[in-house]
């Protein structure tokens, strides 16, 4: 799951203090990468901007799920990354077989949708209540 390009720096999307950080550092040593830029997962939109600006040419994630979550959240434009020839690596890569890869994506998509649905419904209920209260007050004031 990578295309070869060495334009720009290497970005790492991983929390420095997380359990995955040690494995990430081992991966960087094995790849002889010494000057990677570390981004926390919540800063993935900055990675996307750096990729779009051409300053990052390789991005490393701990697991495929760490890429898929921001992808479903529209925080990165993976199509643009492919078009720019950005190299994407995982410390724990998925099984190479296409079916296993598809299962990983499908499983993650379902998990993400379940989680997103809960947040979406909760936010919808709260904001609907605010909107209805505002509409009620506006109409009351107009009367």
């Amino acid at each position: 799951m990578s295309t070869k390009s060495q334009i720009g720096s290497v970005a790492v999307v991983c929390d420095v203090g997380s359990a995955a950080a040690a494995a990430m550092q081992a991966f960087l040593r094995a790849e002889a990468i010494e000057d990677a830029l570390w981004y926390a997962p919540r800063e993935v939109d900055e990675v996307d901007r750096a990729v779009q600006a051409g300053t990052v040419g390789r991005v490393i994630f701990p697991r495929p799920a760490d890429l898929l979550t921001p992808l479903w959240n529209h925080e990165l434009a993976l199509d643009d990354w492919w078009a720019r020839g950005v190299q994407v690596d995982f410390v724990e890569p998925p099984e190479p077989a296409p079916v296993a890869l598809l299962q990983t994506v499908a499983h993650h998509w379902s998990e993400w949708r379940r989680h997103h649905r809960r947040r979406q419904a909760l936010a919808g209920v709260l904001l609907s209540a605010v909107a209805l209260a505002a509409a009620f007050l506006l109409n009351w004031a107009a009367g």
């Binding site: 919808g124 709260l126 605010v130 209805l132 009351w140």
Partner: protein, 282 residues
């Protein structure tokens, strides 16, 4: 708080007027079914018991729409004539002048405020998404047609269900019974044609409650038409853009955003607004 006066009672009425009103209403689905059957026969398609003309060729579908309009107009004109009144005389009592036409703007504004704020909340919480789904020409056509369609739909349905049916029931029956019958008939009428979804029925019941109470509170059609037209206008205007991504139990679907929990609550609050504004039945 602003209490409205009841309009003057009709010039003449007989006990059979209720039967006439209900009979004319029942005539509508029969006439539409008859026209559908003829058009299906013309298109060499099998006849069907339900009202469902979706698979008619485009030209015949247009004829079907015209026939629908003619049937509604015929009933609206026939009822006053059957009562020995000119249509102008009959309907004029539901459109009192002076400051009363302002109720039209008030109703439309109230419906637009509720729906707009709800859609804003749903966009912010990612429960609906807006994007252009049609080519520019079709989009412009739809947007230009929306205000006209909203007004025609509101005028026709309010004149029929409030101006004829509910007004007639209120003169003959107990007001509570009249309102309940008016609500059930209006909501059920939206399912005489074969519908894609039936879970929206409670939404239609509460919507009917809003329109019926607006009529009972004011004894005029300005307010119900304003509410109806304002709501339809927003729903038709957002239709070419909106995609519902949130749960249907909360935000509804298609043009039925009032059928979800938030919409139903909004309709309930709007009824309270009207109660506070018009002080209940006069």
């Amino acid at each position: 708080m602003n209490r409205r006066r009841r309009s003057s009672p009709p010039a003449s009425r007989e006990p059979s007027d209720t039967v006439r009103a209900l009979g004319l209403l029942l005539l509508i689905p029969f006439a539409l079914w008859l026209s559908q059957t003829v058009l299906l026969w013309r298109a060499r398609l099998p006849w069907r018991a339900r009202l469902n003309a979706r698979d008619l060729p485009r030209g015949l579908k247009r004829i079907n729409r015209v026939v629908t309009g003619v049937v509604f107009a015929a009933v609206l004109l026939a009822y006053p004539l059957l009562r020995g009144l000119s249509p102008a005389t009959y309907y004029a009592r539901f459109f009192p002048l002076g400051a009363r036409p302002r109720e039209l703007a008030l109703g439309a504004g109230a419906a637009i405020v509720y729906l707009s704020l709800l859609y804003l909340a749903w966009v912010l919480s990612d429960n609906v998404r807006f994007r252009v789904r049609h080519d520019a020409a079709r989009l412009v056509r739809r947007l230009l047609a929306a205000p006209v369609a909203a007004l025609v739909i509101a005028l026709t349905e309010e004149a029929l269900f409030r101006g004829i049916l509910l007004a007639e029931l209120l003169e003959s029956w107990d007001p509570r019974v009249s309102v309940v019958v008016g609500i059930v008939v209006f909501a059920s009428a939206h399912y005489v044609r074969s519908a894609k979804r039936y879970w929206t029925f409670p939404g239609h019941l509460v919507l009917a409650t809003l329109f019926c109470l607006a009529f009972v509170f004011t004894r005029a059609l300005w307010l119900p038409i304003g509410l109806h037209a304002g709501g339809v206008l927003v729903l038709l205007a957002v239709r070419p853009f909106v995609r519902y991504t949130g749960p249907a139990w909360l935000v509804g679907a298609s043009i039925f955003s009032y059928a979800g929990a938030a919409g139903l609550t909004g309709l309930g609050l709007l009824i309270v607004n009207l109660w506070l504004r018009f002080g209940g039945p006069t």
